[in-house]
């Protein structure tokens, strides 16, 4: 589990590719994330409609689309904050949402299974969600110490390194409420990284920030994307971010992938009418 902490290094295998084909053929081994006919319904309302897509290891994928198109739901399903209504999510060839029975059949996952499955996944939220009852340092060390069982001194040393990475070395003993939105989000990013996730989910992480603070956070995330082999899934309205950070953009509408491709392709030459409409509206 313990990868080399810092300095963050990029995985050589994924360095070369810019454009990744959408449909990965199954005999190439397991994609890191695979949505297999995933359905999510709230009552009568279907948010995700038999959704299929894959994310390869080390890929940085941006999900775009009009609000209500189900982008955030995808992240929430991956984080197991919600359960699928139908279909299966696979992580590295193992079912996330289900348990494989003796006969190979799939049963809905227990809380215990979810806890184990969650270990590889981290998330940063739109509203930061720092714990106000803990100082900055404890926000970052709480889970490594008490969930991963990391030695406290080691966890604190690592937390300080991460705080330096996000540019907040001076705020170790601050209360979250004393920080600006941008600073809080940086701490939240450090907190997620401290758990050494293989997959990092970023849910509109700049939407709640004042405009002048957005650029700094985006730059930080670009750095992380460049210098680590963490797989990233981002939901964002920042098209710059999509262009700078990700190799792949998925355009969603009404719970389905309308179009996917490299940022250049999607932004300069979208092949789908819905994508064109959406980009015209936001750019």
């Amino acid at each position: 589990m313990a990868t080399e902490p810092l300095p963050l290094q990029k995985n050589a295998a994924t360095a070369a590719e810019d454009v990744v084909p959408v449909a990965v053929s199954k005999d190439e081994g397991h994609p890191l994330v695979r949505f297999d006919k995933v359905v999510k319904r709230y009552g009568d309302h279907t948010v995700l409609d038999e959704l299929d897509f894959t994310v390869e290891r080390g890929e940085h994928v941006t999900l775009i689309g009009p609000s209500g198109s189900g982008k955030t739901t995808i992240l929430r399903l991956l984080m197991t904050l919600e359960r699928v209504s139908d279909g299966v999510i696979w992580i590295n060839g193992e079912p996330l949402t289900h348990i494989r029975g003796q006969d190979g059949s799939l049963k809905p996952a227990s809380e215990k299974h979810l806890r184990a499955a969650r270990r590889k996944i981290g998330m940063v939220f739109q509203q930061f969600n720092l714990f106000p009852n803990m100082k900055v340092l404890q926000n970052i060390t709480e889970a490594p110490v008490n969930v991963l069982g990391m030695d406290r001194d080691k966890a604190e040393a690592r937390a300080r390194e991460l705080l330096e990475l996000v540019g907040l070395s001076g705020k170790v003993d601050a209360h979250p409420s004393q920080l600006s939105g941008g600073q809080q989000q940086r701490v939240a990013i450090a907190r997620a990284l401290a758990m050494e996730p293989e997959i990092l989910l970023l849910d509109e992480v700049t939407s709640a920030l004042d405009p002048e603070l957005v650029a700094g956070v985006l730059e930080l995330l670009s750095d992380i994307a460049r210098n680590t082999d963490i797989t990233m899934l981002c939901v964002t309205h920042e098209m710059n971010f999509a262009r700078d950070v990700s190799e792949k953009v998925l355009m969603f509408d009404a719970g389905r992938v309308v179009e996917s491709g490299s940022p250049e392709k999607i932004f300069t030459d979208p092949s789908h009418e819905r994508t064109r409409e959406f980009l015209n509206a936001v750019l």
Partner: protein
């Protein structure tokens, strides 16, 4: 009136022990109520239907049957039924604990539910266990929300302690009642008694406000200096609605 106060001075030891009994019943009753509030309140938030059901029944039972009846039941009926006899003060502590604990359970439940959902989600995203989430993330934040309502309940509990007089527990009311019947100074006696309770209530409110301030500070929330002196009732009586 001078008669009363000279008698007051003579009876000072009895008055002091009466005050002690009142404080004892208040403090231990409140601690029992606090414990029960958390047990019943957390049970009501459980995923298990049985646990929620038991909590619901206990809460409704002790809210629905009058405190007065509960106290009398413990004092008069329980010895007859079981053969166990509790001291009057213990009856009081138990009855206060059960009755106010039932009200407190609703406070705990409401406060836990008022912690933003994002906090729960962030804790889950860090893979914390349910117990860990509750202990380290949810409860410390809910606690701040609970204090004003608990203050309200504490004062209500203090105001219920003169019931001890009815089960001959030698509390403050009993002590002053004795003075009254000896001196015949009805007005002075009851006025003194009321002032005593007012001072006690105010002191307790002040203590609770201090507690609230320190709890808020731990969350990094600024609490204005004025809030220490704010009266409990004006803040929470209206919003508590039918809290009691």
């Amino acid at each position: 009136m001078n008669d009363f106060f000279s008698a007051f001075a003579d009876d000072l030891p009895q008055l002091r022990s009466g005050l002690w009994v009142t404080l004892e019943a208040t403090v231990f009753g409140a601690l029992a109520a606090l414990l029960l509030s958390f047990v019943l309140g957390l049970m009501s938030l459980s995923r298990l239907m049985l646990s929620r059901g038991v909590s619901r029944v206990v809460v409704e039972f002790f809210r629905g049957t009058s405190l007065y009846v509960q106290l009398f039941w413990l004092y008069y009926a329980m010895p007859q039924l079981t053969g166990y006899e509790l001291t009057p003060v213990l009856c009081g502590v138990l009855a206060f604990g059960l009755n106010y604990g039932a009200y407190g359970a609703e406070v705990v439940r409401g406060a836990v539910n008022s912690v933003p959902r994002g906090q729960y989600e962030a804790a889950l995203a860090l893979n914390m266990s349910p117990l860990h989430r509750m202990r380290k993330v949810i409860l410390p934040q809910a606690w701040v929300q609970m204090i004003p309502s608990f203050t309200n309940l504490l004062i209500q509990l203090l105001k219920a302690t003169p019931l001890l007089w009815l089960i001959s527990a030698a509390d403050l009311m009993t002590a002053i009642e004795k003075l009254r019947s000896r001196t015949g100074e009805t007005l002075t006696a009851y006025a003194t008694l009321l002032v005593c309770y007012f001072v006690l209530a105010y002191a307790l409110t002040l203590l609770m406000n201090l507690l609230e301030r320190s709890a808020k500070r731990r969350l990094g929330l600024a609490a204005g200096g004025k809030s220490l002196l704010k009266s409990r009732s004006a803040v929470s009586a209206a919003q508590a609605g039918g809290a009691r």
